[in-house]
């Protein structure tokens, strides 16, 4: 037998929708935060990134010239991406705790320090 859609049902339905929304948000947080680093003006911004394991750090070349993202030290973070053209991006996944400096192979003044916590 069908019954009427009451105010109580409306409250329950709204609560369910909110619950789903919160769940989705929580899911994306546990998948990792996406940190963005700008290269505009041949400068990494921010100059310091604090991340957690599972996060990603994306280097966006929003500048007018090529850049060369590279990490010279610290174990599994030793990567290099030369020839990053304007409009291109390069992403590092934070897989383990650590602290490392990101340089540009073309511009010695470009540095940003990434700290990855558990």
């Amino acid at each position: 037998m069908l019954r009427r859609f009451t105010a109580r049902d409306a409250v329950l339905a709204a609560a369910a929708v909110v619950g789903i929304a919160i769940g989705a948000t929580a899911g994306s947080v546990s998948a990792g935060t996406a940190h963005k680093v700008s290269m505009s003006g041949s400068k990494y911004m921010p100059a310091e990134v604090k991340a957690r394991v599972g996060d990603t750090i994306r280097f966006d070349n929003d500048d007018f010239e090529n850049h060369w993202v590279y990490v010279p030290t610290v174990g599994n973070y030793q990567v290099s991406r030369a020839g990053l053209k304007p409009g291109e991006s390069f992403e590092i996944t934070a897989r383990e705790p650590g602290k490392f400096t990101v340089l540009c192979g073309l511009h010695t003044s470009m540095e940003t320090v990434v700290t990855v916590a558990k």
């Binding site: 030290t73 610290v74 990567v79 290099s80 991406r81 383990e96 010695t108």
Partner: protein
């Protein structure tokens, strides 16, 4: 008389070639092809732009003597070995459990950077890398005499604060602090 002139000309040519070889930079440089076992592996870098794995080795004497924040010691030899990364069906490098490239057996580059007291004087200041010299070797250990070393010097030139190295001085600073 004609034979004498030809012989003399040949002698002059041979002498000039010998002098050129002795003064040319890369000819000064030698590396042991046992570097993978006899040198200290200081870095392994995944190169996303050319899909290679680059391993940097340093001679053990230099590694032992190197001090953080100081120029690398006289006698330092750095060897950069590049290997192709293993590619997946999509043509992109496959990753291991740590998210690193997986090197294949295919060596695509053996380059070296060596520092000796008094080296580098033949280069103009706008390209000179202190007392460093560069060379590229074939996988059989012979010098690649056709290698263009100018890009090496140009790329390393701005890194004077790191003793003209892209990685080594930073590694020393990081690991010996």
């Amino acid at each position: 008389m004609r034979k004498l002139i030809l012989a003399a000309a040949g002698g002059v040519l041979a002498l000039s070639l010998a002098i050129h070889a002795a003064s040319a930079g890369p000819d000064k440089v030698q590396i042991p092809m046992t570097y993978a076992s006899s040198y200290v592996k200081i870095a392994t870098i995944d190169r996303y732009d050319n899909k290679t794995v680059r391993t940097v080795y340093m001679n053990p004497e230099a590694w032992a003597a190197a001090k953080p924040g100081e120029p690398l010691p006289d006698g330092t030899t750095l060897i950069l070995e590049g290997r192709s990364a293993r590619l997946g069906p999509d043509g992109q490098p496959m990753l291991d459990a740590n998210g690193r490239f997986i090197p294949t057996d295919q060596i695509v580059l053996i380059a070296t950077q060596q520092k000796r007291r008094g080296w580098g004087t033949e280069y103009p200041e706008n390209i000179r890398n202190g007392e460093w010299e560069y060379a590229v070797f074939q996988t059989n250990g012979s010098l690649n005499t056709g290698a263009n070393l100018q890009p090496c010097m140009q790329c390393h030139k701005p890194r004077a604060a790191d003793d003209f190295t892209m990685v080594a001085a930073r590694i020393v600073k990081d690991q010996k602090k």
